[in-house]
Assembly symmetry: C2
Amino acid sequence: MELRTMILGHFLVVSLALNAGLLYRDYYNGKHKSQDVFSFNNECKNASLVTKRDAHVAKRAFLETNKAPSSKALSEIINLDHGDPTMYERYWQQMGDKTTVVIPGWKFISYFSDVRNLCWFLEPEFANAVIRLHKLVGNAVTENRYIVVGTGSTQLFQAVLYAVSPPNASEPISVVSAAPFYSSYPLITEFLKSGLYKWAGDAHKFKKDQPYIELVTSPNNPDGLSREAVVNQNEGILIHDLAYYWPQYTSISSSPADHDIMLFTVSKSTGHAGTRLGWALVKDQEIAKKMTEFIVLSTIGVSKESQLRAAKILQVLSDTHEQKGHFRENEPFFDHSYNLMAKRWKQLRDACEGETEDCESFLRDHKILTRSGKHFGESTKYVRISVLPRDEVFDQFTERLSSITST
Amino acid sequence: MELRTMILGHFLVVSLALNAGLLYRDYYNGKHKSQDVFSFNNECKNASLVTKRDAHVAKRAFLETNKAPSSKALSEIINLDHGDPTMYERYWQQMGDKTTVVIPGWKFISYFSDVRNLCWFLEPEFANAVIRLHKLVGNAVTENRYIVVGTGSTQLFQAVLYAVSPPNASEPISVVSAAPFYSSYPLITEFLKSGLYKWAGDAHKFKKDQPYIELVTSPNNPDGLSREAVVNQNEGILIHDLAYYWPQYTSISSSPADHDIMLFTVSKSTGHAGTRLGWALVKDQEIAKKMTEFIVLSTIGVSKESQLRAAKILQVLSDTHEQKGHFRENEPFFDHSYNLMAKRWKQLRDACEGETEDCESFLRDHKILTRSGKHFGESTKYVRISVLPRDEVFDQFTERLSSITST
């Protein structure tokens, strides 16, 4: 019974840790030191299934490079920190060869996709698939928008910072986001010590009468809540990170999002994290041009192979919804994903109860790797856990939790 | 005859403009202003076929986004600035389906390729193909090296800067390269106004008794000459950009290159520029770790699709050499490419003679877009021209040159 009180639903909030792999550096604590072991600073998102009392949970863990998490045994590590969206693998497997891409060796050699497009390395097929999907879901306006493709939304976030920062200001522009914010934002903003922009922390505390950039993540990472800008000043530039604004994570508003700069990514919508592909919908031509310029200077465009594969997958995803009545063997993607999420949340709630002062340490003692709430400016009573691993891993996790709380 | 004297082999040095797409910003001239039209700041490399008297040529041109170069007519634009290596397209087309990749939609969803590898997003297949190719060509040591994969060597160059710059120095470390240097180096080094490193220009002029980073590009871009470090101090960190150190561009030394940090890229070796894939061979573990960290912060890894396709292409390339006797229908890749280069150089020499004070303007008047030598710290008498377009475009170019010089 002691253990029962150590893990409690109220504190153990499980987020959708989707965005893996950021090496841990202690920027968040202002220390700026490298570490020898690899750890993964994961992006997370609570599903709409999470009630508000569950909010604000973070987790932290170290995945040592020579220890792959793999086993079934109770003694082996369950790594729920790195947030790899392998949960989606089974769905795509069941789709068979519908999403298979075939690329001949002589095709797509060129740097260029469409020289008439402002974003000249954007494959038209991918752009079309993006527009179709947004129209289907109704989550964002695509009319009169420039589409800028990036190597994941991580690169696009940096492209926006570059595009909207004044090039010749006497000091870097402040970048803020309301706490709790995605813990990678400060790392990415600071790692090159840019003279163009600087991380300025919690948007709630930003009082300077100066230009600023506010990141609005909605649904928010890590707490899953819908958000609006919080700094109430005229000189602000807003970036809307809508990575999780998809039906499996949250309810979609009746009117599509219509902001100046909106970021999306394949890894959050379909689960294809390894494809490293995101897109921005941008109202202003000059901003879209400068974002394109950033991506050219950073990586001279974006993988054609990734764009071709993502185009195919997004088109098939749309097909599963539009042909719902025709091909009953294929459950529509968002329906399937929503249901799977709901099931996992139920499993988790059934398995977990308790409270502890240091939830991350407690779980680590049981070889469950998570991220402590302290990295999100929260209590150590909270952790963040990925609920997007493969079924076997998630089942093993909830079984282990049950066995801990029942002993 | 007047025109004959305006274009002379001595000044019109044709480089292999391979690396396309950098938006032009006037960093090189210290102006730091954006431009409305797109122009492309191309990487170039003279083949070993270029004699020394041909050295140091650069070109500059603007490719307006709504004007695609496409025609056969004398009146239409021939754009030889953007350096797209479509020359290689025909070879790969002749290889048929040998290099075709097939990727099922459910595969390679994960962020991770190999969690036991320091560079955990490196696909083992790609790593194996890289090692095999280097052993075949004998151009670089791979034993006891870490392979770090990047979104082109452009990203890897930035990863190295991040990895070797002192994190807490009072001022940014100087980055130098012997003039004439690849004109993108200063742009890439400066565009984020990093506090970690700064562009310090011509390595020949670097006299400060301070730590520095020296870029050694060999064969050099834009003049094709073999190079060694020129700053003779103890505190230097060397980066060897060996993008063009392949048999079609230069002769390969009897002993493989054995430097601490060596950069390579698929777009220069096989012509697959759209794949956006490069690799670094790194001796020091800590540098390889920090480069990996950069790529994680910058783009959370590298497209799996690009790595899989490149792996296949590199393996087939190696096959064409190792199975030379067995499959005579497939000319070995480097032999084919070397011969094609030789042919083009001959065509060009036959067509071009003359001298002009402003070669770029002169050629632009004839709708041939090039880059002026001034962007490489050279005279406007020089231009750089890509010799890697498709055959039709190159033939059209040499025909037009001939018609100009004969009138």
